[in-house]
């Protein structure tokens, strides 16, 4: 274990009493509680953390936060492994194990680094130009490219962790807990608003945690802690540390990702979720997301040891780590000077500050000079030296226009180069909210312009970089947001900080090199996009930033270009000779930082992924070993295989039992709608194709429902319960849709009709007993009900007690056998089912599932909505004109007379009998009248239902074939995938008891 040779003896927000062991790339190190993986690595002198995406150049820790492009690591192994995390955001815990991504075999010796030597061969659009032709060979290239260019590896096993999602409402959501966000949250909460304050870090304070500034006379971090403590004590404030606001959607709906136990590692309590997704609906939003320091673009700016100035400042102040021994700073603005002073105080030797500005002044500059730091005005770092780590830099004066060097360069030895190209407001969320960005020439960055939603930006994300301004703007935003949400303006005093004027910056998109080339001027460190690549894209005709981005892959890495988009845009604008705002900015899409899939899925996984709807008899089916199938969300028994029986054998047995004795089916899933009111009949007449005027109380009728386009969308039996009351049944899958359809017409078209519809699908357990013995069986269970067909005819219903439970018995049939559909109140379902099973034993009662039901109805040629229909089928297509009234109007009627629905050659329902009796056609199989050696063949239809019929001892099928009713007796063919085909004869779509004698019982 190496000692932490770069750790400062004192200071920082780390706990030296809690040393933590961890491993990185197989080596053991030690850090402290309060470290991130990045700060702990730096404390051990480890800068080299990865290889770049394309050239596999060595890359070091570049930032201290969410914008990190280089330090992308794979955390842990096995099922808890997480790819592509930023070491700058991973909190250290005991036993942490991490490794670099995108280097093989190791980060120090990377075979693919040869790509760097071949860089001229890998220009912008390399993949498009090279690997896309010939297209057929892509599968050969892909494997190689994926291994060379891939980042982390997704775990392959099931995720062992829990993830939660939760909704929450707020008057004011504050995104970001730096000085502006804290001031805003305090102001809003003091005024009485329900406030949520979210910050991605473990502690509130933002930059105050790392830059040593003071608020209200206290050290910044102390003030932040006190502010957070006050908020905790307010009843309606919710503080969410370690929580990133990742998305901003319509109507102030925002998503937040809270890392609940990530920082605890294996010590996390098992009852807690690893992460929690918060779905916030806020009346008002204050964006206080801060800013990211902008890099400078110069030759060799990607070497390990090159770091953002503010990051270096954070490492010394917050983590008590010296990121180097001797530093050079290169800056175009004032903020880097504070970093230089803090680094110097921490014992880092400051070799020089190269300031691009010809005449830097201001308090920071003067303070640096007073500390003996050499300031080089009008100069910039123009090249770097070193291999796996920086050893020195070349500094040279810039010409007045910034496009050339204006003198000889000098060399400085250093192991740390801090760069600061000023600041980019983090406008990601503002942009996601559909707010319009505005380019600020003076700050050389995009700032929020016009808001679209109830939202305001405050502080650095609004282009206000001075602490006093951040506090004032945050306080004002919080006060206004609370007032907008209906609270007072009693928001307490404005937190104060010393007002320090911020000097102007000098924007130089690309610092020139002595050679004039820009192929080592990296814009996007993760995707290896250089200024030369962007210039090439411009020369090749790319004008739109969106196209350039995709062509060069600029900003398309896991960091989504947080450090590269604005610099890249500036280079593109310069290459095109157009102002930046004309070139535009790319779209900011959620999430702000990557989110693991588990967090998005939450607990909607496994058997909670979707509700499994169960009938009252479900657990009986489970106990007797039923095999289930999904019908919508319902679980329905498909068949009930006995010991050693295949599913096919079970279905055959169940079918024969119904044809020869008695079967029982759980039909509880059928939709049931109770329709009441004087205009109920009028409604039925409009929604069904047939007439309902003459249906008497006690009788049932089958009906077809069409859309206004004339196409069948549901069918079912409706019974007249009383003078003004009907019970409609629907198919299982369409129950909700049919009720909504009825309500839609009643509410929107016929609001004065006096009729109400109520869903009673689940009020009843429905069990169908059918077969030649059904009547004898039912007779044993009912008292005082005459089952003689003369007294209780087919298509009628009776009220009676079945096994002592009040029931409605419907004598209707979907199997072609004499059949009774018994409805009892659902809580009695199991009791009645058991009574029927007991009484039925001597009749050989056999429970049958959906597959036997399908076979039985297909033998009879009864259609199945969704099988014989697909939204393009009319009643005429199915030969069901008998169910269509010629006299009355109904929904869809006019469409049946349209040219397209009356034309010849429409697909029509037919039966198919295969030449080989045991060959079962595949459902969905295409039908041809003449076989060709290979496709294409003229397809004349398709198989809609196909089964083996045990009752007939052969296969049967239903099909839709063009002009099918005129093709009786013709031979057709169904070609199969393996090149063979099955021949079949076109028949009537009825195979069993075509006179319908059996079902009348």
């Amino acid at each position: 274990m190496t000692r932490q040779q770069f750790r400062l003896a004192e200071g920082g927000r780390i706990d030296r009493d809690r040393p933590l062991s961890f491993r990185f790339n197989g080596r053991a190190y030690q850090g402290y509680a309060g470290d991130t993986l990045a700060s702990a690595l730096l404390a051990n002198g480890v800068h080299l953390v990865g290889r770049s995406f394309k050239y596999h150049r060595p890359r070091g820790i570049f930032s201290a936060g969410a914008e990190e492009p280089n330090a992308i690591i794979q955390l842990e192994t096995g099922t808890r492994s997480q790819p592509d995390l930023r070491a700058t955001q991973v909190e250290l815990y005991e036993g942490l194990r991490a490794k670099s991504v995108n280097c093989w075999p190791s980060v120090r010796f990377d075979l693919a680094a040869i790509n760097s030597r071949l860089a001229p061969l890998f220009p912008a659009g390399f993949y498009y130009k090279t690997f896309m032709w010939p297209g057929r060979a892509w599968h050969l290239y892909e494997a190689v490219i994926r291994r060379m260019a891939g980042l982390g590896v997704a775990p392959t096993g099931p995720d062992p962790d829990r993830y939660e999602k939760t909704h929450i409402h707020a008057d004011v959501l504050v995104a970001g807990g730096g000085p502006a966000g804290l001031a805003a949250a305090l102001a809003a909460a003091r005024a009485g608003a329900r406030v949520i304050l979210a910050d991605e870090q473990s502690a509130f304070g933002g930059q105050l945690l790392g830059n040593g500034e003071s608020v209200d006379g206290k050290p910044g971090a102390e003030w932040a802690a006190a502010a957070a403590a006050e908020l905790v004590d307010l009843p309606d404030a919710t503080l969410l540390p370690r929580t990133t606001v990742i998305g901003y959607f319509d109507d102030n709906y925002l998503t937040l990702c809270e890392r609940v136990t990530d920082h605890l590692g294996p010590a996390a309590p098992p009852e807690l979720p690893r992460q929690r997704l918060w779905k916030v609906r806020a009346r008002h939003v204050v964006l206080a997301t801060g800013a990211h320091e902008r890099p400078l673009v110069f030759q060799g700016n990607d070497r390990p040891g090159v770091m953002l100035a503010s990051a270096a400042q954070s490492y010394v102040n917050r983590y008590a780590v010296r990121p180097g021994r001797r530093a050079v700073l290169c800056a175009n603005n004032d903020s880097a000077y504070r970093a230089a002073l803090d680094l110097q105080e921490a014992g880092v030797e400051i070799a020089a500050i190269a300031d691009l500005r010809p005449a830097p002044d201001g308090a920071g500059v003067e303070a640096a000079r007073a500390q003996g730091i050499e300031v080089l005005p009008g100069q910039a770092v123009v090249a770097t030296q070193g291999g796996r780590h920086l050893t020195g830099v070349e500094i040279a004066p810039l010409s007045e226009d910034g496009n050339a060097l204006a003198g000889p360069s000098s060399t400085e030895k250093c192991d740390l180069l801090c760069v600061s190209g000023a600041w980019n407001p983090a406008v990601h969320l503002f942009s996601q909210s559909r707010g319009k960005l505005r380019y600020d020439e003076g700050l050389a960055c995009f700032v929020p312009g016009r808001s679209v939603q109830a939202e305001r930006s405050a502080g650095a994300c609004n282009g206000r970089f001075a602490l006093a301004d951040c506090l004032a703007e945050g306080h004002a935003a919080g006060t206004a947001a609370a007032a907008a949400a209906g609270h007072g303006d009693d928001s307490g005093p404005v937190p104060k900080a010393e007002a320090e004027p911020v000097g102007a910056i000098r924007a130089v998109p690309c610092v020139p090199s002595r050679s004039g080339r820009a192929n080592k001027h990296f814009l996007d460190l993760q995707n290896d996009v250089t200024a030369a690549d962007v210039a090439l894209a411009a020369r090749e005709g790319y004008r739109s930033v969106e196209h350039t981005k995709r062509y060069t892959t600029l900003g398309m890495g896991t960091d989504q270009g947080k450090t590269s988009n604005v610099t890249g845009l500036s280079v593109l604008a310069a290459a095109l000779g157009r102002p930046v705002p004309e070139v535009g900015t790319t779209t900011f899409r959620p999430p702000y930082t990557p989110v693991t899939f588990g967090t998005i899925a939450g607990r909607d996984v496994g058997d909670l992924a979707d509700p499994a709807r169960m009938t009252p008899m479900h657990h009986w089916h489970v106990q007797v070993g039923a095999v289930f199938e999904d019908v919508g969300q319902w679980k329905r028994p498909y068949c009930y295989p006995r010991q050693g029986e295949s599913k096919r054998e079970a279905v055959d047995r169940e079918c024969l039992a119904v044809r020869n004795a008695v079967g029982i089916l759980d039909a509880s899933t059928l939709g049931k709608i109770d329709i009441q009111g004087p205009d109920a009949r009028k409604l039925l007449n409009m929604v069904y194709t047939n007439a309902w005027n003459k249906l008497e109380v006690g009788r049932c009728r089958y009906g077809l429902m069409l859309g206004e386009d004339g196409m069948i969308f549901d069918d079912g039996v409706t019974s007249r319960l009383a003078e003004d009351r009907y019970l409609m049944t629907t198919t299982t899958g369409n129950a909700a849709r049919v009720l909504e359809w009825l309500e839609e017409w009643l509410q929107t078209e016929w609001p004065d009709w006096r009729v109400y519809c109520t869903s009673v699908t689940e009020q009843f357990a429905t069990m169908t007993i059918c077969g030649p013995k059904a009547r004898d069986l039912l007779a044993e269970l009912v008292d005082g009900l005459d089952l003689d067909p003369a007294a209780f005819p087919f298509m009628s219903w009776r009220a009676a007690a079945v096994a002592g439970v009040p029931a409605r018995i419907f004598k209707i049939s979907f199997t072609g056998e004499n059949s009774y559909e018994i409805n009892v109140p659902a809580n009695y379902g199991m009791a009645v089912w058991s009574a029927i099973m007991n009484a039925g034993e001597k009749y050989g009662i056999t429970p049958f599932g959906t597959e036997a039901m399908h076979v039985l109805r297909a033998e009879k040629g009864f259609i199945m909505v969704g099988q014989e229909t697909d939204g393009t089928i009319t009643p005429h297509d199915l030969g069901m004109d008998w169910a269509v009234s010629k006299t009355k109007d109904f929904l869809g009627k006019r469409s049946l007379a349209r040219a397209d629905t009356t034309r010849a050659g429409r697909k029509q329902l037919v039966g198919l009998l295969t030449e080989a009796a045991d060959a079962v056609l595949p459902e969905g199989g295409q039908i041809v009248s003449e076989l060709a050696r290979k496709p294409p063949m003229d397809m004349i239809g398709h198989v809609t239902s196909s089964y083996y019929s045990a009752a007939l001892g052969r296969s049967i099928a239903l099909a839709l074939i063009k002009g099918g009713r005129d093709r009786g007796g013709e031979t057709v063919h169904v070609p199969l995938l393996d090149g063979s085909s099955i021949a079949a004869t076109v028949t009537e779509p009825r195979f069993y008891d075509s006179e319908g004698e059996r079902l009348r019982g």
Binding site: Y253, R434, E743, D889, R894, S895, A897
Partner: protein, 96 residues
Amino acid sequence: MFLIQCPWCGPRDETEFGYGGEAHIARPAGPETLSDADWADYVFMRKNPKGVHLERWVHRHGCRRWFNMARDTYTHQVLGVYQMGEPPPGPEGGDG
């Protein structure tokens, strides 16, 4: 995700609602008297404006009432909701 003001239940998430397409399309009286073209116009043809759109929604997982909404298809702004049978609201209504 939209926050939709159900005229009865108040503001609810979009997931509770169903979309019913363009509003104010009345079923023509005497369909049998219409030409194929006129009938097809009623059944199939719908506006698809960039801007204000008058449309129907149903509070599917709530009170199951249908209502009308004026919504800007470009800004995603819901400009107002009104009951079935009511005319579109004010001057900002209309066909955009």
